[in-house]
């Protein structure tokens, strides 16, 4: 078995094990109010970080992609107008795609 296969299998199994570990942490570990608070807030921190990094990150550097930022701006505008989820997504993707097709951004 090649080294690459070993790396693939170890990555696959460990990634699954991490998911399972989080889901099966004994409830009493999270009984403390601070632990509970951490568990509640951690997805908020990570998802906000993902939004930021996907908005202006490119690999190991920060890069502004005008079409992508405009798409996110359209999503925010749609959210402020209380648009449904699907409309938010379509506004974001549509704006970015349109700007790219027009060669504007």
């Amino acid at each position: 078995m090649s080294g690459t296969w070993i790396a693939v299998l170890v990555t696959a199994v460990c990634c699954y094990a991490l998911k399972l570990a989080g889901l099966t942490v004994p409830p009493r570990w999270l009984a403390h109010p601070r632990a509970q608070r951490f568990a509640v807030l951690v997805p908020v921190a990570l998802l906000a970080a993902l939004i930021a990094v996907q908005a202006v990150g490119r690999g190991e550097s920060l890069a502004v992609d005008p079409a992508r930022l405009a798409g996110l701006g359209a999503a925010a505008a749609a959210l402020l107008l209380r648009a449904p989820f699907l409309v938010v997504i379509l506004a974001a993707a549509g704006t970015a795609a349109a700007l790219r097709a027009l060669g504007v951004a």
Binding site: T4, W5, I6, A7, V8, V10, T11, A12, V13, C14, C15, Y16, L18, K19, L20, A21, G22, L23, T24, P27, L30, Q36, R37, F38, V40, L41, V42, P43, V44, A45, L46, L47, A48, A49, L50, I51, A52, V53, Q54, A55, G57, S61, L62, A67, R68, G71, L72, A75, A76, L79, R82, P84, F85, V88, I89, A92, A93, A96, A98, A101
Partner: protein, 262 residues
């Protein structure tokens, strides 16, 4: 009664399927990138089937492509996967799946399914959203990986269709109610974003997002976070931890028309 509780569930399922289908197309990009990096199509598919977490998969492919150290590549891919473990801490009480089904549900823990589950009022809708996202994203991601690995990735870039914006836009939409309702959530979200952006130039891709967990840790440990301001935020105390355990208050809040993204 049946109607009032069925509607959020239907909506959650619809949102989850939509997001899964749109994001899953990126499987094409992964399949293509994996094969270009030197992984075989079978190896790309095993990663998508079992690891099923995009950031880790791209990280391993990049390590293979660089001809770099496979041990370091594997370690960074696994480190990135730790994010899903953190999500699980929250999802465990939110979804409270029991028994063997939890073994299957664990596979479905990703950014997307977590975001959809968090965005729902009450447990039934959270479960429906989680499972719908899992189902549609898993199928699309794996089909995309296979197609991309076999050459379909060269047909065009997902960016052309603006699909690169679908992920962040969806996360924004799903976080929106949390950010509107809670001062602590807003602070933590902002801090998380700042940490990740600040760390980006100095870290391998993906790691900055994991580091953002420090924002949640800080807010949980600092007594100051709960004490000042509006006092121990009454909203948070009753609502947030309750989303999993007491579906009613959250459901009531949602039914009260307080969900801005609807």
């Amino acid at each position: 009664m049946a109607e009032t509780s069925a509607e959020p569930v239907r909506r959650a399922a619809r949102d989850g399927i939509t997001l899964g289908l749109a994001v899953g197309v990126s499987g094409l990009a992964f399949g293509a990138a994996a094969v270009t990096s030197g992984l075989s199509a079978a190896q790309a598919c095993v990663l998508s089937l079992v690891a099923y977490t995009g950031a880790s998969q791209f990280a391993l492919a990049a390590a293979v492509a660089g001809g770099g150290n496979l041990i370091a590549g594997t370690a960074s891919a696994v480190l990135l996967g730790s994010r899903n473990g953190l999500y699980g801490l929250r999802l465990a009480s939110l979804l409270s799946f029991r028994g063997p089904f939890r073994l299957l549900a664990a596979l479905g823990v990703t950014d997307e399914s977590t975001a959809v589950a968090l965005g729902q009022p009450g447990r039934a809708a959270a479960r429906a959203g989680f499972l719908a996202t899992f189902g549609s994203l898993y199928l699309t991601w794996n089909a995309g990986t296979l197609a991309g690995a076999l050459g379909a990735g060269r047909l065009g870039s997902p960016d052309t269709f603006g699909l690169d914006v679908v992920g962040p836009a969806a996360f924004l939409a799903l976080l929106w109610p949390r950010l509107r309702d809670g001062r602590a959530e807003r602070t933590v979200a902002l801090a998380g974003a700042v940490i990740a952006l600040g760390a980006t130039p100095f870290c391998p891709p993906g790691l900055p997002v994991v580091l953002a967990a420090a924002a949640a840790l800080g807010a949980a440990l600092l007594p100051a976070a709960a004490a000042p301001g509006e006092g121990p935020p009454p909203d948070d105390a009753t609502r947030q931890p309750g989303l999993g355990d007491r579906a009613d208050p959250a459901g009531a809040a949602g039914a009260a028309g307080d969900r801005p993204c609807r």
